[in-house]
């Protein structure tokens, strides 16, 4: 249910602007990640270069969101759901910026790989990137729609991604031993897999913040807390 408008119209405008910037930043990061992966799979250096260049705009948006968030805190002293949304927006922007950094890292590794003959093992990356991308999109959806269940579901998916990364590492390490000449290529694929695993970690953070924003519930570190 959409909350009623604030008495102060400028407060609604500031919150709306903050939210729109977060969603725009997420859209740009998603596009960057997609370009980086396509640059890898399609061996397209232009896409890689574009992905790397996109990062600048995302960095600027991160700064803008932080600035706007501080401005909202200062001017309107938000409380309750408003406060949670502002805090979550600022935390989201940090995680989205790091996802974009991972996309940049992937693009750089892809450019290195593109200088050498194609490795068939690049296909190992496909399901990993699909899983990481789904987590990222759903985490952003959870925030945008204030969907607590979806947020929780994203968090639960991270273990699968970790496992996929682990299996990829194992397989690629084996290939390194079997084909030492292509060692650098396999190493780059291991790094790319690792980057995607990190994307999943940031998507998890975003999903946790989405749950906090929507329901004021802190679901971080629950496994660790339960075992201590």
């Amino acid at each position: 249910m959409t909350p009623p408008k604030h008495i102060l119209g400028t407060f609604d405008e500031a919150l709306s602007s903050l939210r729109n910037n977060v969603l725009m930043m997420a859209g740009l990061a998603e596009r960057t990640l997609d370009r980086a992966i396509k640059g890898l799979l399609q061996r397209d250096d232009n896409l890689c270069v574009t992905a790397i260049a996109d990062d600048e705009e995302i960095d600027q948006l991160e700064k803008q969101i932080d600035k706007d968030g501080v401005d909202v805190l200062l001017r309107f002293q938000p409380v309750a759901s408003d406060l949670r949304r502002v805090v979550a927006s600022m935390k989201l922007s940090t995680n989205i910026e790091r996802i974009a950094d991972q996309a940049t890292n992937i693009a750089r590794r892809a450019r290195k790989l593109n200088r050498h003959p194609a490795l068939p093992e690049v296909e190992i990356i496909v399901p990993i990137q699909a899983h990481a991308m789904t987590m990222f999109k759903e985490a952003i959806d959870a925030f945008a729609r204030e969907d607590v269940d979806l947020g929780r579901a994203v968090v639960a998916q991270d273990k699968d991604l970790d496992y996929m990364n682990k299996m990829a590492n194992r397989k690629l390490t084996e290939r390194m031993a079997q084909d030492p000449k292509a060692l650098r290529g396999y190493l780059n694929l291991i790094f790319i897999s690792r980057c995607l695993e990190r994307v999943g970690d940031h998507a998890t953070n975003i999903a946790e913040d989405a749950v906090y924003a929507a329901a004021a519930e802190d679901i971080r570190h629950q496994t660790a807390a339960a075992t201590t």
């Binding site: 909350p3 604030h6 008495i7 938000p78 309750a80 759901s81 004021a216």
Partner: protein, 280 residues
């Protein structure tokens, strides 16, 4: 306070002091003021409906809500200030202080008001010296020994964080103090008779930010020793100074809980809409 202290005593039952065993409900050690099923009306106009509230000791409890929601009326019920208003009365329920019904016929209203001090929106020092403002309540209470009064004046002014500013001019008129100092003097005056509870009705609404900050700092100090109930329209102030917050709307207590909970995740939609500025 003058008229209150001068009101005739009708007492036979003394209210228990804070930290003493309550006369009745011994199990309620964590409740200083217990409001139960309270209805209150000004003539035919009912302004409080079935209010239930446990105010803990040595903590700051804030009442918030839009104008006319009944928060000040409830505050004034706690030391029976509403007795002074014709046709104003509790029509149902009770308020207990330390387990004792404050409206019981045997309760002395003067004693009650000594135990439950009050600070008002606008500072109201007597047109007397700083010293006499503090000493007045003590003299009314029968304390006449100069050394005892001197000690109480210093203690109260120190308690209200005003001593260092006025110690060299205690004989000067209180009306010469700044607004913030006058308000702290009124707090000191309330503290002089060693109350258990201090009620504050928008104590900072007429003060500038510096004077407000001093009062808020003082409230944090005072809660170590006193139970404080504050009515404020300033949401940020409620968030800063209080441990518990009650939100009132149209004479009903909509929600009561820890201030952190109320201001980060209120349970009631009306609370959320009010504190986030979606109606008022």
């Amino acid at each position: 306070m003058v008229s209150l202290l001068e009101m005739p005593q009708t007492v036979t039952q003394q209210l228990p002091r804070q930290n003493e065993t309550p006369v009745e409900e011994t199990e309620e050690a964590t409740v200083m003021i217990d409001v139960r099923d309270l209805d209150f009306a000004y003539g035919a106009n009912q302004v409080l409906y079935n209010v239930n509230l446990d105010i803990p000791p040595q903590a700051v409890t804030a009442f918030i809500g839009p104008s006319g929601c009944g928060k000040t009326t409830l505050l004034r019920c706690i030391n029976r200030m509403n007795d002074l208003i014709e046709n104003a009365r509790i029509t149902r329920g009770a308020i207990r202080l330390g387990g004792v019904d404050i409206n019981a016929p045997e309760v002395d209203v003067v004693d009650l008001r000594r135990r439950v001090g009050m600070v008002f929106q606008k500072s109201n020092p007597f047109p007397k010296s700083i010293y006499d403002n503090i000493a007045y309540g003590l003299r009314i209470a029968g304390v006449n020994k100069r050394s005892q009064i001197d000690e109480a004046v210093e203690k109260s002014l120190r308690g209200a964080a005003l001593w260092d500013e006025v110690k060299d001019r205690l004989d000067e008129g209180a009306l010469g103090l700044s607004g913030g100092q006058q308000q702290r003097l009124c707090i000191a005056r309330a503290l002089a008779v060693e109350p258990d509870v201090v009620l504050m009705d928008e104590p900072c609404s007429a003060l500038d930010p510096i004077a407000t900050a001093k009062i808020e700092e003082l409230i944090q100090e005072l809660k170590r020793q006193y139970t404080i109930v504050i009515v404020t329209h300033n949401m940020q102030q409620a968030g800063r100074v209080s441990d518990y917050t009650g939100f009132f709307y149209l004479g009903k207590l909509i929600e009561f809980g820890s201030t952190t909970k109320i201001f980060t995740n209120p349970s009631e939609r009306r609370t959320e809409d009010y504190i986030t500025g979606r109606f008022g």
